[in-house]
Amino acid sequence: MPEAVSVLAPRATAETPPLPRRLTVWLLLGVLALVPAVAGGFWTYSVGVCMANAVAVLSVGFLLRYGGEVSIGHSFFLAFGAYCTAIVERELGLSVGIGLPVAAAAGAVLGIVFAWPSRALSGIYLAIATMALALSVPELILQLGPIAGGYEGLYVARPLIPGVSVDLQRYYLPLVVLALVVLLLARFRRSRQGLVLLTARDHPRAAEAFGFSRGYARLAAFAISASIASTAGALLAFAASTVSPNSFTLSTAIYLLVGTVVSFGSLGLAGALAGGAFITLVPQLFAAWGDWVPIIYGAALLAVVTLGHRPAEVLAALRARLGGGRRDA
């Protein structure tokens, strides 16, 4: 795929990614598929949550890449997807097989509902507006009353396929959905709409001159991003088997942003996994570091927000310097 900074590097056509990259993806998927066979219950659970978080990281990465915007509020859409799934199970008795598509579709609508009034904002101002979303989440959930289960939250216990080990399903569903999301996003990059969003990100006036208003670009980027975030929420609810208000706070939103920084804004499998693993495992592994964890996160957040209105270019340059311009896994 083309890269602004690697004109001289050999590249494949837009239709087929180069062979080594495809091999890496298949190798990664193979290793992930074997985890439950070789690792214990704790690691199977943790890697499952990592993959759900990887999808969440992709949702923030998508907005950064195709909208050129930073969100500090995606925990809102994550919570929405998670509660959608839990409520669909509790009220309708349907499994995540229905809950997840419902969450993805409703999440897109919710993304538009937020993006429309905020379409004139950008940069730090939009980031602050999204932060308001994140801050509202726990209160909103408690206001919903008994349907959302209050402080204790809700269980997501119904298996997707009855009769098969639920623990395995809680691992493999995030794996399958993560692989699918990565594949769909790779396709999107080549689509008509993908070209429009990328041009609108860099030159909104050029996109307008060719028939696509800023509002269209913003709504499209937000709808897709929010839909991915809602999907990730559904996966998190299923992988962790429970949802509660305190898993969707402002820090959750900030972690997602940090995960995006760790993934270098990549929308590929390896990058997303790195971001998802970072935000899942670092708090666990470095719990002993205590106060340093939020400081590290805060520094990473400041870095991404101060990259300014068009962080994607800076990220591209960074990636080129660190990894020879490789972007999508």
């Binding site: 083309p2 001289l8 689509s191 993908g194 990328l198 307008e208 001159a209």
Partner: protein, 262 residues
């Protein structure tokens, strides 16, 4: 390739357009027309209002008075994104190509508005979307070949010299199948060799149904390229005519006297 959608090629007309910024009038009842099959130049000394008029044509500015129309269709209240649908396309003075897309993809973006594929096609390998993408790719490649840019199709714009980037912008505009092509100082930042190439390319684009409008400082380019020229000074049109008529116009000579360009 470049044919307009309509059978009868329509004129782009500006009627008594006035524009002011906070009491400062930059355009005073300007009227002029731009004809299909011709390259029309818009010139004038600095501050004459040619960029303001250009911005009224693209929709960046809305004139307080007057009418801008393409055929029977009024444009003056139309936002820029809708003007694209009406058949207007443009290039930018500061190249506005997407640095992440390669040259071919930038040109494919030019015809994105003509596409019919929906959001499902964007994510899924459906036959309709695939066929449309292949068609868009072929059409974009066609435009690149016509402009002698095919060799650059798979590089990103940042690696190209300014003249080539400008031509890619023109290719992108042409790919949208416009009825009106608006060029904002196309020779800005180009060396003489690049300017000559640009002139040849633009002359090659002339077709009976296409209106080409060029705002430009470079007098040599304007005189060689244009079939007709409108001259603005202090927000008013002071002359219109062929390059030869403009060169001989006493008012124009007076305005440009001492100007190193002419």
């Amino acid at each position: 390739m470049l044919d307009a959608v309509t059978a009868t090629a329509a004129e782009l007309t500006v009627e008594a357009v006035s524009l002011s910024f906070g009491g400062h009038r930059v355009l005073k009842e300007v009227s002029m027309d731009f004809r299909p099959g011709q390259v029309t130049g818009l010139i004038g000394p600095n501050g004459a209002g040619k960029t303001s008029l250009f911005n009224c044509l693209t929709g960046l500015y809305r004139p307080q008075q007057g009418r801008i129309a393409l055929g029977g269709q009024s444009l003056e209240r139309m936002p820029p994104a809708r003007r694209a649908r009406a058949g207007l396309s443009r290039s930018f003075q500061h190249v506005a190509l997407c640095p992440e897309l390669d040259v071919l993809e930038n040109v494919m973006f030019g015809r994105a508005r003509l596409g019919r594929s929906g959001w499902a096609d964007a994510f899924l390998p459906l036959p309709g979307g695939r066929a449309e993408r292949a068609e868009a790719r072929a059409a974009a490649m066609d435009v690149l070949r016509r402009l002698d840019l095919a060799a650059f199709s798979d590089v990103t714009p940042a690696g190209l010299p300014p003249g080539t980037q400008r031509l890619v912008e023109i290719a992108r505009a042409i790919a949208s199948r416009p009825r009106v092509l608006l060029l904002d100082e196309p020779a800005a930042g180009l060396n003489p060799a690049e300017t000559r190439q640009l002139t040849a390319v633009l002359r090659g684009l002339v077709s009976p149904e296409l209106i080409i409008v060029v705002v430009e400082h470079d007098m040599d380019l304007i005189m060689q390229l244009c079939d007709r020229i409108h001259v603005l000074n202090f927000g008013q049109r002071i002359a219109s005519g062929t390059p030869a008529e403009i060169r001989a116009d006493p008012e124009v000579i007076r305005v440009y006297l001492g100007d190193s360009d002419d």
